[in-house]
């Protein structure tokens, strides 16, 4: 004896958010039923396994049919097949495009290609995210990337407009797209301690200040690539370390400002030239695509690690970077004020974000 066919269709499509999440998480029907049975929320309904199974099947089918539409969220609003209230549509879309940060951390900076897709089972094993869910998230990244890649205008707004996502989620996608496009190195062991949020923040900074769109409010170009000219100009900053006088002057100005204010003053004083040289070197090398990719690993190896070994506090670091940046303006011979500001602004906030255990 078996149920051959069991279907429930509402004029207004009924969506159970809990089941939707289970589906998105890549659970099979039987797993979902088991989890629902165990959850407390439903215990008051006295639902039997049979009832839950039938309900879960219905919901899963609905989601599968909706999935095609979710791939192009703007279609969901003017399709006729499912009558779904607008706020539910928004929920469906938002949830569908939400992703696990642990998963995203693994994919970050990788090429969104078939090759990476093949590695998804490893990622699934490592992160504990179900393979099905990994695939969905990966495909989402790929889809968003493909649509947004060639579009003009601000990246975040493009994502938001085409996929009807919330602001914060759109920003996360912008980060993913940005990293995938520039292929930043994130996988090195030394970078493992950084979370997706850390990188997303940095990506946001880079998008906001270092891309073409950042200066030239949208119009011509796009947000995905860093501004070539700016990167080229960064070579000029070398003067700060190459000119012996300037370097000494800079050091004394910073030391003067920080004296008594930071705990790691002596270490700072001893290390100033190295640290400054590290930051300027990173800047001057950014013309090279390979070195752009290594931006984060360089920051960690050349700057963050030395600071950490000297036991700088975050407060120390903040004060140091603030004054390191500002005192450069008072150097008489230094002419690249705007360039310096643009570079250091981003570097400072990135370093501060990345400076943790």
């Amino acid at each position: 004896m078996s149920m051959e066919l069991d279907v429930f269709v509402g004029n207004t499509t009924i969506i159970d958010e809990e089941v939707y999440q289970l589906w998105l998480d890549g659970h099979s029907v039987s797993d979902a039923v088991r989890m629902r049975l165990e959850s407390d929320a439903l215990s008051e309904c006295e639902a039997s396994g049979e009832v839950l199974h039938s309900d879960t099947m219905d919901q899963y089918r609905t989601f599968q049919m909706c999935e095609r539409l979710l791939h192009c969220p703007s279609k969901l609003a003017n399709q006729l097949l499912f009558q779904i209230p607008a706020h539910r549509q928004a929920m469906l879309i938002e949830r569908y495009y939400e992703f696990d940060h642990t998963f995203a951390r693994e994919v970050l900076g990788k090429k969104l290609s078939k090759g990476t897709k093949k590695d998804l089972d490893d990622i699934s094993l490592k992160t504990g995210v179900a393979l099905k869910s990994c695939r969905r998230q990966f495909d989402n990244f790929k889809r968003v990337f493909k649509v947004v890649e060639e579009l003009k205008g601000p990246l975040v707004e493009n994502v938001q407009h085409h996929f009807l996502l919330s602001d914060s989620l759109a920003r996360d996608y912008a980060a993913v797209v940005f990293f995938a496009n520039s292929r930043f190195e994130t996988g090195k062991r030394k970078l493992q301690y950084l979370s997706f949020q850390d990188f997303a923040f940095c990506a946001g900074q880079l998008i906001s200040y270092w891309t073409v769109g950042a200066v030239d409010n949208m119009m011509e170009d796009m947000d995905v690539d860093l501004e070539k000219e700016f990167l080229h100009d960064l070579k000029d900053l070398k003067v700060l370390v190459n000119d012996k006088d300037m370097l000494d002057q800079h050091k004394s100005l910073v030391c003067y400002q920080l004296k008594g204010k930071i705990k790691a003053f002596s270490e700072m004083e001893a290390n100033f030239k190295n640290l400054s040289r590290a930051l300027i070197n990173i800047a001057s090398k950014l013309t090279n695509t390979k070195d752009v990719r290594d931006l984060f690993i360089d920051l960690v190896e050349k700057f963050i690690e030395p600071c950490r070994s000297d036991k700088w506090t975050v407060g120390d670091l903040t004060l140091f970077l603030t004054h390191y940046t500002s005192t450069a303006h008072t150097l008489e011979m230094f002419r690249f004020q705007i360039l310096w500001e643009r570079y250091m602004g981003v570097i400072k906030s990135c370093i501060l974000k990345m400076y943790h255990d």
Partner: protein, 1036 residues
């Protein structure tokens, strides 16, 4: 050449990719009507083509306009090979043919393909220019309005109810064994879709002609069904009630003022108007229309092997009655006046061949008394229909059944059958035809205006006993057609009522109900020997009476268990499979205040020797008693012993008078001696003498109670609940169950079937848990036993279709309040209309002094005197309200216009369309009926597994059907479908070939509704309209 059809193809969107190379489509459109075809240009390389075509004009007969659908085919142009069809859209032109319905069809339609389902959408504009046709011998019936709604539609009033109309057309089924002939399934399914569309158009036209002939202008309660008889063909049949309807116009009051005597808005009387106690008498007489004796389809001797079995189920008749035809003498006593009246109306009705009405709820005052359920079934052997133009056999079959129903009604002392419906169940070449309805006595006021005075008398009686009159027995109590226990009505205490009442109609709005109602289902499954042809028919007809008897017992037991005394909306469905018969009866149980309270259930064992056995029985008895007590609490049924006195008190004066006048009535003196406790004396006794009975009782108790916050009923409104919100959710659920065990006993089968139904209900409650508190309304299960080629395994499958749900939210104490004091609620329901009408009516009698009073007794005339007095006071009242309302209604026209413009929502591109099987949407007002929706779809697949198996296939198909219905309604300018019904859902599969096919037929009325809260911003127009007409009526 009386019509010009114009169509314009605007654009397409979301088209499928037809050219793999470019990932694009070169689409063009063919527009076909009749034999004329137009084409648009090819719009190259786009999935969102903008054709923006010229207007394609078809000059056609209006006959064709009614029969044919507009056929739109979207194709992909291919230079080298044949053009590929993307899909089709069929548009029914009918709504455009009536001046009052839609004027233009415009909107996005899903492009539908029988294999691929919905493939994109197309934007189409359709208009019709009709020329006046003065030809008396025309074959068309344009302008006759059709409504699926089984009550007078909300923005109309009935001037006249003409009666029963029926028609059937037959044809060869283009493809009845689809799975055997795999030529081009798509082509044959499309042919089939088109044919059925044509046939239903033709059917509607023919029915329309009959209506015109009767002098009507509309069909209400239109019920169209398909019989897929397989090899013997395809039958499309329809029944309905012909009416003359008048639109309740808010804007053109002068029009109604001209004809003041017609202003009887038979509207919903729920909106409280006045606070007076008596429901008024909405009495009007339509324009004098000659009553025609209808000659329906020809009678031809039914050929062949037909076994007939039938039974008339009335209240308490637990044994199928086959030999009761001698009821013609009913209505001889009970006061000469009443008898006279009855004879008069009876003759009026007897002039019709079938005094049947498909309506289930009526204008106030139309339904006088209800006798009980009458039903007839007959088992027939199908044979090929040789000449489709002469469908005599099928006609004769139905004729036979209807005659039987009529005679049953007569036996109950009734002259009419209301809530009438017909259905079939087909298995191979055996077909069970069923018809059922409720025997009733109707007021003649909607039929003929000669009997006004008689009506008046009856009306007056009813004034005495608001809300209980319909329960009073219509038959002769000394000469009862079946054994029944009669008691005096618990409301008025003057007339006899039966102890239980079964009906197929909705609960009359004026009825007094104690507590809440609930859904009651009886389910039964019986094995049957496999047989062929005549033997099979014999076996089935032998089984039928037992099946019905048991269903009845079950219903009765369950009713008692819930301590209720009446069933409304009773629907018994019997379906036949190769080796079993399934019976499913659903109804809404209520406690009618007028009827005696039901006794409990007592169990008696036959073998009292065994002690453990005794104990077992007493345990069971205890369980039953507990359940009854629990149910009483659950449904808030407080035996109204105390309330009893209160009920009578608000109307003491007229009652005294009536007693004076009605001294002939032997009953009136005994009022005080009514025995209220009688129920306890004769508890219903169940005897347990074998395992069968134990099983039965067990199944009685296994019905899971509805979870808290849920209510369910299968009628339009839930008795005892008055505070609805407008949130509603319609749904369809289908389940097919496969029995793997071949040799199941009756009990085993029963249990399986019972569990299936129970589980489905449980599932529904679970799914809708977020909507609590809510009420499942119109819960109608449909069972079928489809064929299966696997010989040893039969699939008794339950396709349960169209359960529907409406949400209501209310503070619980409020509802308790209204139900504990039924009188209050009855008061609240009274509205302004009845009063205005009463005044009008009296005027009418005054204007026609030629009415011969002398033929009646003194009593009669003094009644009239009294009524006049009463009318005087009421008239004053109505004038008052009229003036107050007049002040408040300065801008009716502007308002309605602004409402219309609201319809097209600026923000979202897709109009939200509500669907409901109810004839109304709670908390809203229907302001326009746009036409009937009657659609037929076939979907097939050759990749069943890939589409998610049978469930996935059907799920998407049903979703597609919903989408197409919504799109059509939106294109007509509507925002809801009421009286929605999925009448057919035939599913066939062949898993071995990875194929499946499904047919779905849906119907409903497209409407525009506005929320009452929106209406309240400006004065409620219907009120003002009727007040104005009443004032003008008094002027004449």
């Amino acid at each position: 050449m009386p019509g010009k059809l114009k169509a314009k193809i605007v654009a397409g969107r979301h088209l499928p990719v037809m050219d793999r190379a470019s990932d694009l489509t070169d689409a063009f459109v063919e527009v076909k009507f009749g034999n004329t075809t137009f084409k648009t240009d090819v719009y190259p390389k786009s999935l969102n083509p903008q054709w923006n075509s010229e207007w394609f004009k078809f000059e056609v007969d209006d006959e064709d306009l009614q029969d044919e659908p507009l056929q739109i085919t979207v194709l992909d142009h291919d230079t080298y090979s044949a053009n590929d069809a993307i899909g089709k859209v069929y548009i029914d032109i009918d709504p455009l043919l009536s001046s009052e319905a839609a004027t233009v069809i415009s909107g996005w339609f899903p492009i539908y393909d029988t294999i691929h389902g919905i493939r994109g959408e197309i934007n189409v504009l359709v208009k019709v220019e009709l020329f006046n046709d003065l030809n008396r011998f025309r074959q068309s019936s344009c302008g006759v309005k059709f409504f699926c709604t089984t009550s007078i539609p909300r923005c109309y009033r009935a001037v006249m109810v003409h009666g029963f109309v029926e028609e059937l057309v037959v044809n060869e089924d283009p493809e009845y064994q689809w799975i055997d002939r795999i030529r081009t399934p798509r082509a044959s399914n499309e042919a089939r879709q088109r044919l059925i569309s044509l046939m239903s158009g033709e059917l509607q036209r023919k029915i329309g002609l009959k209506v015109l002939e009767m002098g009507g202008n509309a069909v209400v309660g239109y019920l169209q069904c398909f019989d897929l008889e397989g090899e013997s063909g395809l039958v499309v049949r329809a029944i309905g009630t012909a009416c003359t309807l008048d639109k309740l116009s808010n804007t053109y009051t002068p029009a109604t003022a001209i004809n003041p005597c017609n202003s009887s808005p038979s509207k919903d009387i729920k909106e409280a108007g006045f606070g007076e106690e008596a429901p008024g008498v909405p009495l009007s007489s339509g324009p004098p229309t000659p009553l025609r004796a209808q000659t329906f389809s020809s009678f031809s001797p039914s050929k062949s092997y037909s076994r007939q079995s039938s039974s008339s189920d009335t209240e308490l008749s637990l044994t199928p009655k086959t030999g009761m035809g001698s009821g013609g003498s009913a209505g001889k006593e009970a006061g000469p006046l009443k008898a006279l009246l009855r004879q008069q109306t009876q003759t009026a009705l007897e002039q019709r061949e079938f005094p049947f009405f498909t309506l289930t709820s009526f204008p106030p005052g139309f339904l006088l008394h209800v006798g009980g359920v009458v039903s007839a079934r007959s088992v027939k052997l199908l044979d090929r229909i040789h000449n489709p133009d002469e469908p005599e056999t099928r006609d004769a079959w139905w004729e036979e059944i209807r005659q039987e129903i009529k005679s049953h009604a007569k036996a109950l002392g009734c002259h009419a059958v209301v809530g009438y419906s017909e259905s079939t169940s087909i298995c191979e070449e055996v077909c069970i035809l069923s018809a059922s309805g409720t025997a009733a006595i109707l007021s003649s006021r909607f039929m003929q205006d000669i009997f006004i005075v008689l009506c008046l008398c009856v009306r007056f009686e009813d004034l005495m006993s608001p809300g209980c009159a319909f329960c009073h027995i219509p038959y002769d109590e000394l000469n009862m057609p079946f054994p029944a226990q009669l008691t005096y009505c618990h409301c008025c205490r003057r007339y006899k009522v039966p102890d239980v009442l079964f009906t197929t109609i909705d609960l009359p709005t004026e009825a007094n109900v104690t507590g809440k109602g609930c859904l009651i289902q009886a389910r039964l499954c019986r094995t049957k020997k496999k047989a062929q042809g005549e033997g099979n028919a014999t076996a089935i007809s032998n089984l039928l009476p037992f099946l019905e008897y048991e269903l009845h017992t079950q219903l009765m037991n369950k009713l008692k268990l819930r301590s209720m005394n009446a069933l409304f909306g009773l629907r018994i469905q019997i379906s036949v499979g190769e080796n079993m018969l399934l019976g499913l009866a659903s109804a809404t149980g209520v406690y009618l205040t007028a009827l005696p309270s039901p006794g409990g259930i007592q169990i008696a064992g036959k073998t009292p020797s065994d002690i453990t056995y005794e104990q077992h029985i007493s345990n069971m008895q205890k369980k039953i008693n507990d359940t009854i007590a629990k149910n009483k609490e659950l449904y808030e049924i407080n035996p109204p012993d105390l309330v009893e006195e209160v009920i009578g008190s608000p109307i003491p004066e007229p009652r005294q008078r009536s007693r004076l006048f009605r001294s002939h009535s032997e009953s009136s003196d005994e009022v005080s001696e009514l025995d209220l406790s009688h129920g306890k004396k004769d508890a219903f006794v169940l005897e347990i003498d074998d395992t069968d009975a134990v099983e039965d009782i067990h199944s009685l108790l296994t019905d899971a109670p509805t979870p808290p916050g849920f209510y369910s009923c299968n009628t339009e409104i839930m008795p005892g609940i008055y505070n609805w919100t407008s949130a509603l959710q319609m749904f369809t659920s289908v389940r097919v169950f496969r029995l793997s065990n071949v040799n199941l006993t009756n009990q085993g089968l029963n249990k399986v079937f019972n569990d299936l139904c129970e589980n489905l209900l449980k599932s529904l409650y679970f799914k809708l848990r977020s909507m609590v508190p809510c009420c499942l309304c119109h819960v109608n299960f449909t069972v079928a036993v489809p064929e299966d080629e696997l010989i040893q395994v039969r699939t008794p499958s339950t396709a349960s279709i169209t359960e529907n749900e409406d949400q209501l939210q209310f503070p619980l104490e409020l509802s308790a309040e209204s139900s504990s004091n039924p009188l209050n609620s009855a008061k609240g329901k009274l509205s302004l209309f009845p009063f205005a009408l009463l005044a009008l009516f009296t005027l009418k009698t005054q204007d026609t002094p030629s009415v011969d009073y002398s033929s009646f007794t003194d009593r009669c005339s003094s009644w009239i005197e009294q009524l006049r007095l009463k009318a005087h006071t009421i008239r004053c009242g109505s004038i008052k309200t009229m003036s107050s309302l007049e002040k408040a209604s300065p801008l009716p026209e502007g308002r309605s216009r602004s409402l219309r413009s609201n319809r097209s929502y600026a923000g979202s591109s897709v109009t939200v369309v509500k669907m409901t099987p109810l004839s109304f949407i709670p908390g809203t007002k229907i302001i326009k009926y746009l036409g009937i929706i009657n659609m037929f779809f076939i979907r097939e697949t050759t990749s069943l597994r890939e589409e998610g198996g049978v469930s996935g296939f059907l799920h998407s198909f049903i979703a597609e059907v919903f989408a197409m219905v919504r799109a059509h309604v939106a294109a007509l300018g509507g925002n809801a479908v009421v009286s929605y019904n999925m009448k057919e859902c035939v599913f066939m599969e062949n898993p071995n070939k990875n194929q499946a096919q499904c047919l779905i037929n849906v119907s409903g009325d497209a409407v525009i509704f506005v929320r009452e809260s929106e209406l309240e911003a400006t004065p409620p127009q219907p009120h003002s309209a009727s007040a104005q007409t009443s004032s003008s009526g008094e002027g004449t």
